[in-house]
């Protein structure tokens, strides 16, 4: 029960912090000197992207802990899927908000910049991870196989990133760095950005905890069903003659079962 209370407190805190970020971002902070009002996306886009990477980091660590025999426990597999699912939501939002920002800033919805491309591949990789988990398998098999998939994705991401950087060296530098070094970033803007990072991290924490609990309860429900099986399996082998007779009676299925000759007559 106490974890539930803690989770609720975290959830409420996250909600309040997000509301504060929105109010600060939209109304309190001044427009940026270069990008104008557009810069207000700074308070949501980078924090969300950070949460996406954080989520995949947690998934990778949890998967490694699950694969390593001494630490293998159901909770690591449950944490891996919880964090990955939340990560996919945040990655999707990273791509969407990035695109919305890119359209007025660069004039295009999409650019083949290294960070964008890597994020897009990350998104598809983890969609595949979640799809792999949906294949019907025993719990242990699924845990092991999806942990392998998560770690392979983790190994692949730096290679993808490096190759895309090489491939498209022309891209604008890190958003935060650009704005930061231009020293036009207002004090209150920096504070709001920090608030955004904290707010979305707390939201991630709440969502992952909740998703973890959902996974846990789904497994408990499966276990609960195991005890019901004993009763059900004991009934196997009974031949229910009465029920068969009932099913063979005419007219019970609502269709006319009379013989064709009868109809002709």
């Amino acid at each position: 029960m106490s974890t539930r209370v803690v989770r609720r407190i975290i959830g409420l805190t996250g909600l309040l912090l997000v509301v504060a970020t929105v109010v600060m971002g939209l109304f309190v902070t001044p427009p940026d000197a270069v990008q104008g009002n557009l810069a207000r996306l700074l308070y949501v886009h980078p924090p969300i992207a950070w949460v996406a990477y954080l989520a995949y980091g947690v998934t990778s660590v949890a998967s490694a802990l699950y694969l390593w025999r001494p630490t293998r426990a159901r909770r690591w597999d449950q944490l891996a899927v919880a964090s990955a699912e939340v990560g996919v939501v945040f990655t999707g939002l990273t791509l969407i908000t990035g695109s919305i920002w890119g359209r007025p800033a660069w004039g295009v919805w999409w650019t083949w910049d290294a960070r964008l491309t890597t994020t897009a591949i990350l998104f598809v990789l983890y969609l595949g991870y979640l799809a792999l988990r949906r294949i019907p398998m025993s719990r242990e098999t699924r845990g092991k196989r999806s942990a392998i998939a998560a770690l392979i994705a983790f190994v692949d991401v730096p290679i993808v990133h490096e190759s895309v950087v090489w491939w498209r060296t022309l891209h604008q530098g890190a958003t935060v760095a650009t704005l930061g070094t231009s020293s036009k970033i207002h004090g209150i803007m920096a504070w709001t950005l920090l608030l955004g990072f904290i707010a979305f991290t707390v939201v991630y924490l709440w969502m992952t905890m909740l998703r973890f609990q959902v996974e846990r309860m789904a497994e408990q429900l499966e276990d609960q069903e195991f005890s019901n099986w004993e009763l059900e399996r004991a009934k196997e082998g009974e031949i229910r003659s009465e029920a068969i007779g009932e099913l063979l009676n005419d007219g019970t299925n609502g269709r006319d079962n009379t013989l064709i000759e009868d109809k002709v007559r």
Partner: protein, 241 residues
């Protein structure tokens, strides 16, 4: 490891095997000594195939403990596979290869002699022109013979057969029975899932019945369809042990 578990050829202590949440075996307990020939029967879905696959180390024990040939389950599945042989409902053969190529593959993996392959093929009548036939063109019974031939080549300590009689002809069944009797007389264990358990008496087999995922001694619970007492004649060999 339990000492009692090591002295038996097979020992299950309330073993449950979950297949996607469904307990195909449910608290099954079982003891088999060395040199025993077991006929396993039971209604559809009772868990016969799962029991055999568990014995072969292909399916993991979810709850409970088991020892097969002194190896503890869950845990020693990999080691177990070296000492067991299984012919299941699936043939484990490559359809695009010929009979001989399939057996040759088995031979090369197990590191056996060419003579052994040839002799086994001879036993199952797979030596002549048939050996150049692709498996895809064989009948179900012939495929079973090829699978059994591979099993004979391996000569495992524990023979696991899932419905081996179903597609074999009379000669094939006698051949198989002969092999099993000889193997068990040399100390091997054979577990045969079969509906033909009335034949068990001929080969001196003990009959075990699997009902709803549990092992029941045939002596204690005769296999009778509830309302068709006339078919009681179907299982005269049930009490042989």
């Amino acid at each position: 490891m339990d000492l009692g578990g090591e002295s038996d050829a097979i020992r299950f202590e309330s073993v449950s095997v979950l297949l996607g949440g469904f307990p195909a075996l449910l608290n099954a307990s079982l003891r088999v000594s060395h040199g025993e020939l077991i006929y396993l029967r039971g209604p559809n879905g009772a868990g016969k195939t799962t029991l055999l696959r568990t014995l072969a180390g292909l399916t993991k024990v979810s709850r409970g403990h088991a020892w097969v040939s002194g190896l503890a389950l869950p845990g020693a599945e990999r080691a177990l596979r070296d000492v067991v042989g299984l012919v299941g409902s699936k043939s484990h053969l490559y359809e695009d290869l010929t009979v001989h190529e399939n057996l040759e593959f088995v031979r090369s993996i197990l590191g056996l002699s060419h003579d052994r392959t040839a002799a086994s093929q001879e036993v199952f009548g797979l030596a002549g022109r048939l050996q150049r036939q692709r498996v895809s063109s064989l009948s179900a019974g012939q495929k079973k013979r090829v699978a059994l031939c591979a099993l004979l080549m391996k000569n495992p300590r524990i023979w696991l057969l899932d419905e081996p009689h179903s597609s074999l002809d009379q000669q094939g069944r006698r051949l198989l029975d002969d092999i099993l009797v000889q193997a068990t007389s040399r100390g091997a264990v054979a577990v045969v899932a079969s509906h033909e358990s009335h034949m068990a008496g001929d080969v001196g087999a003990r009959v075990l019945e699997l009902v709803a995922g549990k092992v029941v001694d045939a002596e204690r619970r005769p296999y009778l369809p509830p309302f068709n007492t006339a078919s009681a004649t179907e299982s005269p060999g049930g009490a042989v042990s």
